[in-house]
């Protein structure tokens, strides 16, 4: 703990946890390392995330697979997390860094809330995440990129909003729906056909699960629903009341219905 009586506290005071770590414990930051020359050995990569808006909110879903080259590194990985009460983020890219950046972002938001006594605005949160991704740029240049997708409920305008990022930390607001990760091209194609304005929450969850199903169909790095191990995508919804994780039971029923309808259709995709 810094001694509060020591030095010009007011100029040191920051509401940002990341800035505080940069000053006092830079070694704890996930992206603050100088890497030696050479290539990074294979490490797990997280894959597809989809997000879409619906009437009164926004939701985000991610499959459960992490890959390392041609190997499935994990069937259980979770890639969508609540950032705070009113926002969620999903991550694609180098899993080890991405999970630590997520953790840092969660603490960043909570830290601000505790120090300032109020929540950051949604765009403020989105900008902080962009700054962290920019901080990770040197690692990205070594082949360890992290690409998040951020969604939250904006209390000022009363709607759910979506933000995507590029590897340099650029932040772009997305309309209607978006996806990131290796299977994102296929998921996006599915979303274009399945998404409609003013979807209900249940319908929106089904659209997200089906988009991930289509991504898993064509992308070997994306995992489909797994009835053997009872593994379903992780889905979070965010609306005025806050975020909520969709229960496994509901997802099992939705995934079951999709597989069944495709089997009945009996067509090539």
């Amino acid at each position: 703990m810094q001694d509060p009586s020591n030095g010009p506290l007011a100029t040191q005071a920051t509401s940002s946890f990341t800035e505080h770590l940069q000053r006092s414990r830079p070694e704890l930051l996930p992206f603050n390392q100088a890497l030696p020359a050479g290539s990074v050995p294979p490490s797990p990569h997280a894959t597809t995330i989809v997000a879409l808006t619906y009437a009164g909110g926004v939701l985000m879903a991610g499959d459960r697979r992490a890959t390392m080259g041609n190997v499935i590194a994990s069937r259980h990985i979770e890639k969508v997390f609540p950032a705070d009460e009113y926002s969620v983020l999903g991550i694609a890219g180098t899993a080890g860094l991405a999970i630590d950046i997520t953790r840092l972002f969660q603490v960043e938001l909570e830290h601000y809330e505790k120090i300032e006594g109020t929540l950051l605005s949604l765009v403020g949160k989105a900008n902080r995440l962009g700054a962290m991704i920019r901080g990770n740029l040197p690692m990205a240049m070594q082949g360890m990129a992290v690409i998040p997708l951020f969604a939250g409920f904006d209390h000022v305008s009363g709607v759910g909003r979506l933000f995507s990022y590029d590897v340099t930390g650029g932040r772009y607001e997305e309309q209607e729906h978006h996806s990131v990760g290796s299977g994102s091209v296929f998921a996006r194609g599915a979303l274009k056909k399945l998404w409609k304005p003013n979807l209900s929450e249940e319908a929106a969850v089904a659209v997200a699960v089906e988009a991930l199903y289509d991504a898993a169909d064509d992308d070997s790095a994306t995992g489909g629903p797994d009835p053997v191990r009872q593994l379903w995508p992780v889905v979070y919804t965010v609306n005025r009341a806050g975020n909520r994780r969709v229960p496994e039971r509901d997802l099992a029923a939705i995934a079951g219905a999709i597989v069944e309808s495709r089997a009945i259709a009996g067509r090539e995709a």
Binding site: M1, Q2, D3, P4, S5, L9, A13, F17, H20, L21, S24, R25, L28, E85, R103, L104, V107, E110, H111, K114, I115, G117
Partner: protein, 235 residues
């Protein structure tokens, strides 16, 4: 060069302690009560924005009396300490005991080494799964630390208020019961039976917040309307 007068260390410490005590005695009081539903924190504070009670971590809260700028900087330092610790180890590894001992060191160092001691008194509360696992620490301006049982009273009228609370406190109190007791105790020097809900700042650390409230963060600030509802519905 001017000659310094000799002041004995005893006298120096006594002067500093008297100075700090006087500063604290001017302030309004804070009551922290452990009850069946969690830990209630109530401060006599007419300002809705300058808080004396704050959240430190998932299960840990902070309450203070004395000079605002001094305890506010201590609160922020506490939040930083807890967040860094929780981030570098794990959320479970942040404990009230660790935080209280860091506070004790800071307060003690300032008391002996600085121009003037901090004119503050702090309480660090941690809610446990059961009432036996609750921790209440009280820290004074010189860095002394006390592990309190059941409740903590701090501030100018600590003794009078403490008498009222200790007379009526029992482990089975509900949250509403604890709030009523605190409001009655805080009115000890006034013509009133109890303080109105608008004259206090209140917060709770809920027990078992994961299962009951769906959040690992147990701390919740109670707005005056929350207080009024709480006090009427279980009267």
């Amino acid at each position: 060069m001017t000659q310094q007068f000799y002041v004995s260390p005893e006298q120096l410490m006594k002067d500093r302690a008297d100075f700090a005590r006087k500063g604290i005695a001017r302030g309004r009081s804070v009551v922290v009560i452990s009850c069946a539903d969690g830990i209630a924190l109530i401060a006599e504070n007419p300002s809705p924005s300058l808080h004396k009670i704050g959240e430190i971590y998932d299960k840990i809260a902070f309450a203070a009396v004395g000079k605002y700028n001094e305890f506010e900087s201590l609160r922020q330092a506490g939040v930083r300490y807890a967040d860094v610790r929780g981030y570098s180890y794990d959320r479970e590894d942040v404990t009230a005991r660790g935080l209280a001992s860091v506070y004790a060191q800071s307060l003690g160092a300032v008391f002996t080494a600085e121009q003037k001691p901090f004119e503050v008194e702090l309480a660090v509360a941690e809610v446990g799964a059961t009432q036996e696992q609750d921790h209440l620490y009280r820290l004074t301006f010189d860095g002394s630390i006390a592990d309190e049982n059941g409740f903590v009273v701090m501030g100018g009228l600590a003794e009078q208020i403490s008498d009222v609370v200790s007379g009526a406190w029992e482990a089975e109190l509900t949250l509403a019961g604890a709030m009523r007791l605190a409001l009655r105790a805080l009115a000890a020097d006034k013509e009133l039976e109890a303080l109105p809900a608008t004259a206090v700042e209140a917060a709770v650390l809920y027990r078992a917040s994961e299962s009951h409230r769906g959040s690992r963060r147990a701390f919740r600030r109670l707005l005056p309307e929350d207080m009024t509802r709480l006090l009427t519905e279980e009267a």
